[in-house]
């Protein structure tokens, strides 16, 4: 493979380059939305519903309007005149329904935290002071908290006009599943529960909207992954032309999918700027983030596995139920996760019979939608949890049963029973590498000897697949105006340096760095001579942005193609200047060289000088074109699947129920690795989020629909003190669809970490014949199971 030779000229792809931007960020010189202050800017604060479900009987804004510094106070009725409502459905998710959602609640509130009124004031503190003086009368309605209860007959209807609380239901059936289960030697069955959690990015949601009445243009600075999608949304719901809207995403402090959705408070901010004809800034504080950012997961899965005596899997039978809050999120919907769960279950394995049902229920809790590794942790936990239970039931080693059932590495291309098409995966190579990396046999021996001394340690393994590089299949085919292709423009400036403008975005993961590496190598210039500009709809090509692990594979390839196009243009120009055939020339080290001798002919700086300042010296008819744009979207496969495997090693204190993580390993295959350091850190960060899901994070709701732990003191994010060392290795199977061959890596860590941890906990508990299927695995849950001797015991969450 061309990128595997480190001695190739101008090598950049594969180098572990640190992010140049990190220096400015570490020095406090980043520019986040909350760093931007504009003349005449006002601050927004929101009054949010204290009830999970209630009718608004009266709102009195007058007392707030007289408070110091207040510029305006708006409620749902006023806002409905400024911004049209939206409905989060997509046509390819057949039957998905939702109700119109407004920026501020109109007539009824449907979750605790839903914005009800908005104050605009000279300072945020004044806006908050005034918000306390808005008088809202509520008539409480019965809350609908539990997803199963939401679907029960007679459940209170969250949107009476929809007829029931079922937002979406999908079935997969390959046929003959009942027969396969009847013929199976063993049926393994378990009920898995996945708590709600949320993203908690370091920088909360932030938006600064600036309507310029003179120019009739709206400039929006926003921490978002998707500037062009937001441009479309704002135009559509504010009645503007897209050309009137510029969305700039400055530095963004993490997102994990949180900043990819349309939020009612953010829509209200933008609408208010137009009303007031002045800049309006809103930065969500931590408390409101917990009840207004999208939540994720919240699934219960009844799962059955059909297996033969020799460990061969013959079928899966799955019933997934998820609760999404009162609306399907816009414009990506809240049905994608459940859809993904049943698409991905069993994915690493060869089996024939599959039946699955996914149901998506409305509830009166905060909205749920796409968050890092959408659906993957659930699918992986269910699959790998069943496989470990099967191994235990049959008395065979967890590695042996996986080796027996993982799709052979030479079986590709192939299609899964749920219809997922795999171009080329490497499950067995990854498993082999993992066993070496962790010294599996020695670890098992250590575990056995420690058990003799009463020390309970566990090993958990989880294979996974990850959806990356999506084309139009996710959203475009369903009617969403979310670009599936991305573009890059490369320009040689007058000093011979390179400027890249690309439509994918950066939230701290290093997109900027890898695009610079790709451009530098493709052009044959120094890494330091490339400057990358992202996140500005007035500046970059049109594109989808960064989500679903697509920036490297799609944006990176567009950058490569644009660089190669610019190279060709430069060589044409150089050929005319040098009186040479362009085929005899190449670019390397920032200069045009002789292809055969690799001797320098003319530097790019000199060539640019001539092109920009002395075009009069060029031959007649030669016009220098020192800019090129290319777009890219994979067309052969709807997604570039990646694969990998993780393992966890941990110790369980059976007296306290506490878990100490000792070590974690990941072997994954994202194709060509553009920057191994950034890929590894992406994976580590993802593993940490998966560990958060496995052990710590849950949005704890009471029966009234009140979130009980909506603060950083009470909601336990994973922190460095509890994290194990995470060792990472790679198998490289490039996708043949692109020149670079890179697939995504952003979600691999999250996809399987919680499954590996849960399997390790159950492995540690195996001498006691206890197994748990609910995450997070809190000390309370573990102690309850230990005391009752059963995995089904709940205890307090």
């Amino acid at each position: 493979m061309k990128f595997s030779d480190p001695t190739r000229p101008d090598a950049q792809i594969g180098l572990a380059r640190a992010r140049p931007q990190a220096r400015a960020l570490a020095q406090g010189r980043g520019t986040f939305t909350s760093d931007i202050t504009l003349p005449r800017m006002v601050h927004a604060a929101f009054l949010r519903s204290p009830y999970a479900h209630a009718t608004i009987t009266a709102i009195d804004l007058a007392p707030a309007r007289t408070m110091p510094g207040v510029v305006a106070v708006l409620d749902g009725a006023a806002m409905a005149d400024l911004c049209t409502p939206w409905v989060g459905v997509l046509t390819h998710l057949k039957g998905l329904k939702s109700a119109p959602q407004y920026p501020l609640a109109v007539g009824r509130v449907r979750w605790q935290g839903e914005p009800v009124a908005m104050v605009l004031a000279t300072t945020r503190a004044q806006a908050e002071d005034a918000a306390e003086h808005i008088m809202v009368s509520y008539d409480p309605l019965p809350p609908v908290v539990d997803a199963a209860a939401a679907l029960a007959p007679g459940a209170p209807l969250i949107h009476p006009e929809l007829g029931d609380n079922l937002a979406f239901e999908r079935h997969i059936d390959t046929g003959n599943t009942d027969a396969a289960f009847a013929a199976a030697d063993h049926i393994i069955e378990a009920d898995f529960t996945f708590a709600r959690h949320t993203g908690v990015p370091l920088e909360p949601r932030a938006v600064l909207a600036d309507w310029n009445e003179g120019a009739q243009r709206l400039t929006i600075h926003q921490g978002t992954q998707v500037p062009h999608m937001m441009q479309t949304i704002y135009a559509r719901h504010l009645g503007l032309d897209e050309s009137q809207i510029r969305v700039i995403s400055p530095d963004v402090g993490g997102s994990f999918g949180i900043k990819i959705h349309v939020y009612p408070d953010e829509m209200a901010v933008v609408a208010a700027s137009r009303l007031l004809r002045r800049p309006v800034r809103f930065v969500a504080d931590r408390l409101e983030s917990f009840v207004s950012d999208i939540h994720a997961r919240d699934h219960t899965v009844h799962a059955r596995l059909a297996i033969m005596n020799d460990g061969t899997i013959t079928g899966f039978d799955i019933d997934d139920l998820t609760g999404i809050g009162p609306y399907s999120a816009y414009p990506r919907t809240s049905a994608v996760e459940a859809n993904q769960v049943i698409n991905l279950i069993g994915g690493p394995y060869r089996f024939a019979h599959y039946r699955a049902r996914a149901r998506v229920a409305f509830q009166t809790k905060a909205m749920m939608s796409q968050y890092r590794a959408v659906g993957h942790p659930i699918a992986t936990s269910v699959t790998e949890g069943l496989i470990d239970r099967a191994a235990s039931h049959l008395g065979i080693d967890p590695v042996t049963i996986r080796r027996r059932n993982l799709i052979p590495d030479d079986a590709y291309p192939c299609t899964s029973p749920s219809g997922m098409r795999f171009e080329a995966l490497s499950h067995h190579a990854c498993l082999d590498r993992l066993l070496t990396l962790m010294d599996y046999d020695a670890l098992r021996a250590e575990q056995a000897s420690l058990r003799q001394r009463g020390i309970m340690r566990g090993i958990g393994i989880a294979s996974f697949i990850e959806i990356t590089n999506p084309g139009a299949a996710f959203y475009g085919v369903g009617g969403a105006r979310i670009s599936a292709q991305d573009g890059a423009t490369l320009r040689l400036d007058a000093a011979g340096r390179l400027i890249v403008q690309a439509s994918v975005t950066e939230q701290g993961q290093g997109t900027t760095t890898i695009l610079a590496q790709i451009a530098a190598e493709a052009m044959g210039v120094a890494f330091d001579h490339v400057r990358v500009m992202l996140g500005d709809t007035d500046v970059t090509p049109y594109g989808g942005g960064t989500w679903a692990s697509r920036a490297a594979g799609i944006g990176g390839e567009a950058t490569w193609q644009a660089a190669r196009a610019l190279c060709a243009q430069i060589l044409t120009l150089a050929a005319s200047i040098l009186q040479e055939t362009s085929g005899n020339l190449d670019i390397s080290g920032g200069a045009v060289i002789d292809r055969a001798s690799r001797a320098e002919r003319i530097t790019l700086a000199e060539l640019a000088r001539i092109a920009y300042f002395r075009p009069d010296t060029l031959p007649k008819g030669i016009q220098a074109e020192l800019i090129a744009t290319r777009h890219y979207v994979p067309r052969e496969y709807p997604f570039a699947f990646t694969n990998g495997i993780q393992a966890a090693w941990l110790e369980l204190d059976t007296e306290t129920g506490f878990i100490t993580l000792l070590k974690h390993w990941v072997v994954e295959d994202c194709g060509t690795v553009i920057n191994p350091m950034l890929v590894d850190e992406q994976i580590r960060g993802g593993v940490v989020q998966g560990i958060g899901a496995a052990l710590f994070e849950q949005c704890d709701y009471d029966a009234e629909g009140q979130m009980l732990n909506a603060s950083m003191a009470d909601y336990l994010v994973p922190m460095a003190g509890e994290m194990p060392d995470i060792t990472i290795a790679h198998i490289t199977t490039p996708t043949a669809e692109s020149t670079i061959g890179a697939k995504g890596a952003g979600e691999a860590g999250t996809a399987a970490a919680s499954a590996a941890i849960a399997n390790a906990v159950n492995d540690a508990l195996s001498p006691l014949a206890i197994s748990l299927a609910t995450i997070p695995l809190t000390p309370a849950r573990i102690l309850a199971a230990l005391q009752t001797g059963t995995g089904r015991a709940g205890g307090r969450p």
């Binding site: 908050e128 306290t656 336990l716 922190m719 309370a780 205890g795």
Partner: protein, 275 residues
Amino acid sequence: MKAAAFDYIRPETLGAAITLLTRHGPDAKLIAGGQSLLPALNLRLSAPGLLIDIGRLAALRGITLADRTLHIGAGCTHAQVMTHPLIQRHAPLIARALADVAHPAIRARGTFGGSLANADPAAELPACALALDAVMHAQGPAGPRRIPAAEFFTALFETALAPDEVLTGVDIPIQGDTQWGFAELARRTGDYAMVGLAAVARPGTIRLGWFSVGQTAILAHRAAATLTEGGPLEAACTALADDLPAHDDPQASAAMRLHLARVLLRRVVGAWGGR
């Protein structure tokens, strides 16, 4: 969220602080490190009209040893106390407990007296004060007075301090042949514990100071008496059921908390040997 508006005064002397406190009454709050108060202000759980900053008062600083009594100024930060040679030598329990108080940044600002006066039932230091039989020094308009730790923590976030009194320091009696132990169970490093124990054995007395078990830090008298009388550890564990209130919270039910308390007692006292 932003704190509601408040006034702020930093008096130069303890006397001036007490005068301000007397004049403004319950509308005023003392601030030193601010590590509990500022979050409460930002959450608008508390909205005092005046903050009186005693964080820089020299009279509240200093750690001294005299007449077999260790004195810790209320204004010493956790970090200063934790690393002080006198503390490490004569009150290692406190140094050990402080290692579990939040994170270095918080320990650099939070104060010893602030934590005691805040009387958070989940905080480590009140339980240590109980176990060490500390004596609190308070000063008000009527002058100084001393309050035994056992009488200091009266209710949830409430102490025996009068509204116009300032906690100025803490005396800890030092005895040569003291055994001590400390353990807590927290989900993450630096979190408030689900349950915690500060235990001190002096000749003739054992004190078991518990935190995160109810409305205040408490001494487990029955379990301690059992141990003091030389009774078996398991009998002390049994007695804990009567000592500890039945306290439920989202992290642990009362039964689980009692179970964990017994685990800690076995581990801490068991490590002393001889039982």
